[in-house]
Each structure stands twice: as structure tokens, then as C-alpha cells.
Symmetry: C2
Subunit: 191 residues, 2 copies
């Protein structure tokens, strides 16, 4: 129990969140494990919880209009495992979220979240700030897609999420980067 609080206080960092707040949060987080291949969300469902990923690797993906599997995002250790628009706007998602390795996470239900979001001022501040940095990184990604070459994007990914380079199958990485498997294979060959 102590360990849960210690871990969550590393995730929920905000000047307005005191130790008692973290304890209230910890009380509604439940430890869960996943096997490689498990799904936490599938197209058409409404997400009812989110997870803090303590150990392991997930990816989210969609199918484009030609049926191709496109990786949207990778989630690695200490990331928040979530599909924001489905959870917060209560609408069916386009995305699927799948475990690429066995994993451990802390789960919190939407109703518990909602209650504390309105009760703890620091928590809603934390949430807004998490969302805004998440918005920033998607904005950034779409800029970098326009500006960097395939190799540059690959090298950036390796630097930012080293686990992905080691654990994710090449085809998922390729679709995440917006290139084909063959091209990624060739990029990898040369250093």
C-alpha cells in the first residue's frame, strides 16, 4: 500500500497536490496485470477508466480507409494509458489499445476520477496540465512529420522511447513513423 502511494506520487506531481490528496487518489487506484495481446479498448467501445502503466508496452492503432493497420501511439513505463476523447466525451472510440508485452498498471474508474476531479482543485489542475502537455506533444509530432526525414523521425523515436525500438515489431514502428516496413528495414541496416 505504501508502495502504491510512493509510486503514484511520482506520477501525480503538481504544486497543489499534497500527500493527503495522493492518498485519496491511491485509494481508488487498483493494481492490474495484462498478458501480451490483451486489449484494454476496442473500436466502438466507450472507455470507462484509464491506467498508469508501471511496467510494459502498449500501442494504440486504427485501420485506415484501406484497412491498413496504423499505429497511433506507443505507451511505455509511467505513461498514462488512455483514449482521451472517448473517456471524457463519453463517445465510442475509433482506436484499439493492445498490450505488446506482459504489463502491470494502476487502474482508475471514470466515476472515481470524476468525483476527485471536482473535489480536489489540485487534481483538476494536474489534469489540465497533463492534457496540455499531451496536446503539445501531438502538435509537435504533426509538425515533425512535415519537417523531418524518415530516418530523423526514427532516431527521435529511439531516443524518446527506447523500449519501443527494442520491443515493438518493425511493422508497428513503421506505421507509427508513416513509412513502409521495407524502408524501415533499410534504415535500420545502415547503422
Amino acid at each position: 500500500m505504501e508502495e502504491k502511494v510512493r509510486y503514484l506520487s511520482r506520477i501525480y506531481q503538481h504544486p497543489d497536490l499534497g500527500i493527503e490528496d495522493i492518498q485519496k487518489l491511491a485509494a481508488v487506484h487498483e493494481k492490474v496485470s495484462f498478458k501480451k495481446g490483451d486489449f484494454i479498448l476496442q473500436k466502438g467501445e466507450i472507455l470507462n477508466e484509464y491506467y498508469i502503466l508501471e511496467k510494459g508496452l502498449f500501442r494504440s492503432f486504427v485501420h485506415d480507409y484501406q484497412g491498413n493497420d496504423i499505429t497511433i501511439d506507443f505507451f511505455s513505463e509511467n505513461d498514462i494509458l488512455i483514449e482521451v476523447s472517448s473517456l471524457f466525451q463519453r463517445i465510442p472510440t475509433q482506436e484499439n489499445i493492445e498490450a505488446l508485452t506482459d504489463s502491470v498498471a494502476y487502474k482508475i474508474d471514470f466515476t472515481d476520477f470524476q468525483e476527485l476531479f471536482h473535489k480536489l482543485g489540485g487534481f483538476s489542475e494536474w489534469g489540465r496540465s497533463w492534457m496540455s502537455s499531451s496536446l503539445f506533444s501531438f502538435k509537435n509530432r504533426s509538425t515533425l512529420m512535415r519537417v523531418e526525414s524518415a530516418r530523423e523521425r526514427y532516431e527521435r523515436l529511439l531516443k524518446e522511447k527506447p523500449t519501443v525500438g527494442k520491443m515493438a515489431p518493425l511493422k508497428h514502428i513503421a506505421s507509427y513513423l508513416g513509412i513502409t516496413d521495407s524502408t524501415l528495414s533499410r534504415i535500420r541496416k545502415v547503422r
Copy 2:
């Protein structure tokens, strides 16, 4: 005054926001006008307000590591004119935001925003929901960058923001789409 309330109630739509809430919001929104070429934000500054754009067209842009001007986003009528991470995380921005036409907007200061955000439950819900749809559209954009051809992206933009096609200079549209001016010019030539 009545007109301001009427207009803002079209923007701030949420089940938990009643007419009295909108009136409180309207009280802290101030009508402002801009001339073509005005900036509301420049690299290095911290944004202290946001705007609801009633009339006109803006764009945000950055310079990449080679000094090229890259358009990040266009803002047209009824859009929220904002740079989220600077405003909410109180950090200096990377972006510039510039009026492409004479414009009219409603301005709200961060301190007023902050007060009502914590006072009106419906307003923080509205904010979260606005952010999550904004997150969704950036996520979407970075997917479409990977999946669609240059011409498809251009045609989507025309459909989604028709004013942009008419008012924005070709080079800004091109950098928004991630292509060169020459290519966009050629795309336009053929229908």
C-alpha cells in the same frame, strides 16, 4: 451586451452551463479588433489570455531548425484562439500567432478564466471537453499526414476550413500541408 451573451452562449455549449453561468462569463469577455498583420503572441512570450474569434483569420507558426516558416494551424470564425501549453503551463511559447485579415474577437484574461474555471463546475467540464476534442483533432491530423497524399490533404483542408483556401497565401497553406509552394501550385492548377 445582449448580443455578446447570445454569441458566447453559442460557443460555450455544455449541459452544465446555464444562462447565468454564461452571463458571468460574458462579464469578463472583452470585444477587441485586430488589423491584418497584428500579432497576439510571439516566440518567447507567455500567453496571458485567449480569444474567441468572431470574424477573421489567424495562423500560428514556428521556425524549424533551418529557419523555415512552418504554419502550425489556422484559426477561423468561432475558433478559440489560444496556445494551450503557454497559457496553462505558464511557460514561454515556441509559436507566433498572427492575424491574416482584419478581425474581431472576444478576449478573456487568464486570471478571470482561472477564477471561473474553479467556481463553475460546468465551465471546467466545458474546458476539458474542448481540450479533448482539440487533442483528438491534432491526433487525427498527424495520422492523416501519414496516410493521405498531398492532394487529399489539400482537399480536406478546403472542405474543413473554406476561408483558408480563399484568404491565406499559398505558401502558408503549403507549409501547413507539409509540401512546397511549387507542389501546391501544381495541385491547384489541375481542378
